[in-house]
Amino acid sequence: MLEVNLAKRAPAVFLAEQAGRGPIDIVLQPTMGRLSFRAKEAALEGRSEVSGLAVDGAINTRRENGDLAAMRLGPDEWMFLCDDGEVDNLAERIAEEMSGKAFSLVDVSHRDVTFEVSGAASDAVIASGSPLDLSLEAFPVGMATRTIFAKSDIVLARLSQTTWQVTCWRSFATYVQGYLADAAKDFAVA
């Protein structure tokens, strides 16, 4: 029986040629721990956080706490994000804290891939495939929502006025990246 880890992680997506840096940066984010957390109001018993992850924010908001981030994607659904190496520990802590309550915690770290899109016209690049209103009034900094981008499901989060995170399933990553990179061409500079 082998005890050593023979298997190395392979990246889910390779950078498309045209997705380099320019006025619009489209950067594949390093792997991270991702836990889909589900619990109804009754099970949360008025908690404001679970193991340091906020669960009291409004639907479609993203809250950070140090290396942790929580995106509330529905009335009983959160995406918890943590450092890659921390995911098992975090899962254990959450399971302990929620022990005896009705909840679901599923590791989806390998399912999702995130691109960060930044630059002055990044909202226009996102708007090439997203039918949402991306104005600061309608999509403020700190908002995160499940939506579509062209023909892919995504989770879209706004980290600053000009910084976005686009998260999709791994098999859609090449498509999403290609579409973003294509849209960014209109903002190239000579």
Partner: protein
Amino acid sequence: MSQPFRIQSGGHIDRSKPISVSFNGKTLNGYRGDTVASMLLASGSHLAGRSFKYHRPRGILSHGSDEPNALLSVDWRPEKGKGRRDPNNRASVVEARNGLKTETQNHWPSLERDVGALNDILSPVFVAGFYYKTFMWPRSAWEKVYEPVIRRAAGLGEAPEVADPDRYANRHAYADILVVGAGPAGLSAALAASEDGSSRVLLADEGFLFGGALLNDATSTIDGKPAKAWVDEMVATLDARENVVLLPRTTVFGYYNHNHVAMVERVADHRDDALEGLARERLWQVRAGKVIIAAGSHERPLVFENNDRPGIMLAESARAFINRYAVKPGNRMVVATSGASAYRTALDAKAAGIAVTIVDIRLGEDCGTELAEAREAGIEVLTGHTVVKALGKARVTGLIVAPLGKTGGVGTRRTLECDTVAMSGGWTPSVHLFSQSRGKLVFDADIDAFLPGQSVQNEVSAGACHGIYDLSAIIADGAKAGGGSREVTASATFTGFQPVRVLPTDEDPKKVKAFVDFQNDVTAKDIKLAVREGFESIEHVKRYTTTGMATDQGKTSNMNALGLVAGLLDRPLPAIGTTTFRPPYTPVTFGALVGPSREERFEPVRKTAIDGWAEAQGAEFEPVGQWRRAHYFPRSGEDMHAAVNRECKAVRTSVGIFDASTLGKIEVVGPDAAEFMNRMYTNAWTKLKVGGCRYGLMLGENGFVMDDGVVARLAEDRFHVTTTTGGAARVFQHMEDYLQTEWPDLDVFITSITEQYAVIALQGPNAKKVLEPFVSDIDMSEDAFPHMSVREGFICGVPTRLFRVSFTGEAGFEVNVPADYAAAVWKALYEEGRKYDITPYGTETMHVLRCEMGFIIVGQETDGTATPDDVGLSGLVSKVKPDFVGKRSLSRPDILRKDRKQLVGVLAKDPKEVLDEGAMVVDDPTAPVPMPIAGHVTSSYHSSNCGRSIAMAMVKGGRDRIGETVWVTTPKGFTEAVIATSVFYQHEKESIDA
């Protein structure tokens, strides 16, 4: 070519930037700010194309997007090679840029000499409805003459010869207020709407300069300023406002539900400095809180004989060419009109040094102040005159006019020599977008026009499209639409006209070609014929004659056609109705509509973590939904048949490795997980032990098989559900639907883990030997880890959910590992497997192997109308569970019928013959057609393991017919086959200890 007709000063052109474009191989000279039409006129020529049906020479009718005649094939970047040419560009709106290569259309061998012009002489044959009448004639003529010849002759322009190499972009946008059109009304509306800075305002105009009709206006003043200066000031004010986005060169072409408005922006074609890769055009999809339509109006031509001769243009267009483009349309002009506005053209033409005569159908006493003003300027005005016909062919040389008697008779003719005619039959508000928004039009007899009536969406029309023609009133109306007010003192506008459909003539009307619709070559005579043949509804007349059905959507012709029909039927015009306006307002390129969604962005191609390995091995792929899956792995020289035979043998004799990552996977978690599974699937889950697996069958509410898959119980409150590849999204949605709407009381949650885990299937007698060295924390012994169970542990040191399951009938495992590790684990297993000649196999071999065992594939054996019993799975339907989705439907009489199609095997009499999937199964091939059908073949393969062909079929009452002979259709006829059980392969020894 020099520019003999260019006026030395004035106009909104940049004389410091001379440019040239190619026109039918000749060079046209001009300046930035020109269109190809204005450059052609500056050269002294009007000839810009041949007409659609009769191939008559045509000139430039209009200065705007309503131009029906001057359609050009434009190569936007000839220096870059083929593919950047598109047909049917209106010369009047093609913004000229150095290097454009343009060509006129619809002629051979040349614009000047065109054999198609024979049609003009043969025109008695090509009457209205000619195309429809051909349907009635001998059938042979249809196939040999009409279809090939007419089809080739019909259609305008040539399709591009290669794929479009340009990029096209897409953009979604939101606006509180979208203003369509940047003429005086639109500018005024946008200013008012954006005044307090709180509303997001988008102002789009199809032209490359803002200002609309004010660009054509050299004499009006607004608050003491020249019109163009006022425009510049307003545009600068808007530009300075942060809440305003100005979009020139942007045509609003479609108005859909919920104020969803589509526009196309021409991004690159006009640019000398367009960077490589810049989008050529951009499709905007705007969601607007409110839409202000300030789309202006279209001028109507006058309908008289030969009114289509080059040199005859709309009066406002003549004014536009003189004032905006500083081009004289000719040296000697006749202004033929039924209204006041054309007098402004006459005055401006006279000021530009053109000799002018006005012919007005109105009597002097019906005219306004314009008459005195014109006469004061020294222009001869013939009031109460009709135009009988135009002279000349490739260019108008004169106009025959005659006074109208009190009783309508036509008096003594007089010929006015000229090289240009500026005609005006009045104005038609552009109600296209309003009508597209589904608003109801109302007829206003005072201005002889349909106007916006009842709104359906949140929009408002302002200015000329609202039936308001006086400049001060237009600006006030725009401001009001924008939620404010603006009172200006502007020059009075010459307004008012007398509607006239066809000008009175003393010629035989049956021989006169007086064009109503220029682009589709429809004459007044054609419309009269249609009415005479019994067509009364305008929708019928339109289709019969094709009037208004060309790419210009009848912008210049609709009101003349309507009025003509109303007059012939002696009914009020609104009783005839108006035709429906449909998007697009002007033609839109396919490129803009397709946008980025082409080639690799047409559709996501989903690849597994192992896809790269398969590609490197030379696998052939097949699409399965959005997934690309390895179909088979040919070795050199092998075809698919040989490869699949080899792969199938290898799995049964040693070991095969298969990428099953695309299987749908759903993690079902919560205290009520087992109860939820009980309700979603037909079989029972409560007693399934932790660590156990069970095959699950899912029905729709209608009792038909919807999906299937192996389900593992990982914990009391946690299931790992697998679905078919194609059913993954559907099953997830189905479950979520029930959870949210039917059983919100259940404490259970579902999470898609399809892409969290890659799945490596190892199948065959040696599978365990390959796997064992890499597994830790799992007891691999038969007793501890039997068939149909699941264990969690490690493989190659990474966590795995290891399933002992088989879809091949061989002992096998499915290794679930987090996807990023899959490629490494696969390689480790493959290297180890070499000891046993491990064989990678694809979906085709998987299909053959499961068919050998009689395992169904949902979607192949089932077609959405198969019950569990139909496919021999009634044993999986619980008789004791109180309920599950689809249970009630299973007791419907139709579902209980004895003669339903049932799953059976079908073996061709000839073991080498592979039946066609989808072939019909019949009992008597000599029965008369329509032949009674007993069933159909669902799966069919050659099986190397069985040494013959095998097939599954759904046959009526099939299970009671084992051993009977039937006939199966082939491309050539029928072949004999025998009904059998659907399990084809028998193991010599039990290799699965199930």
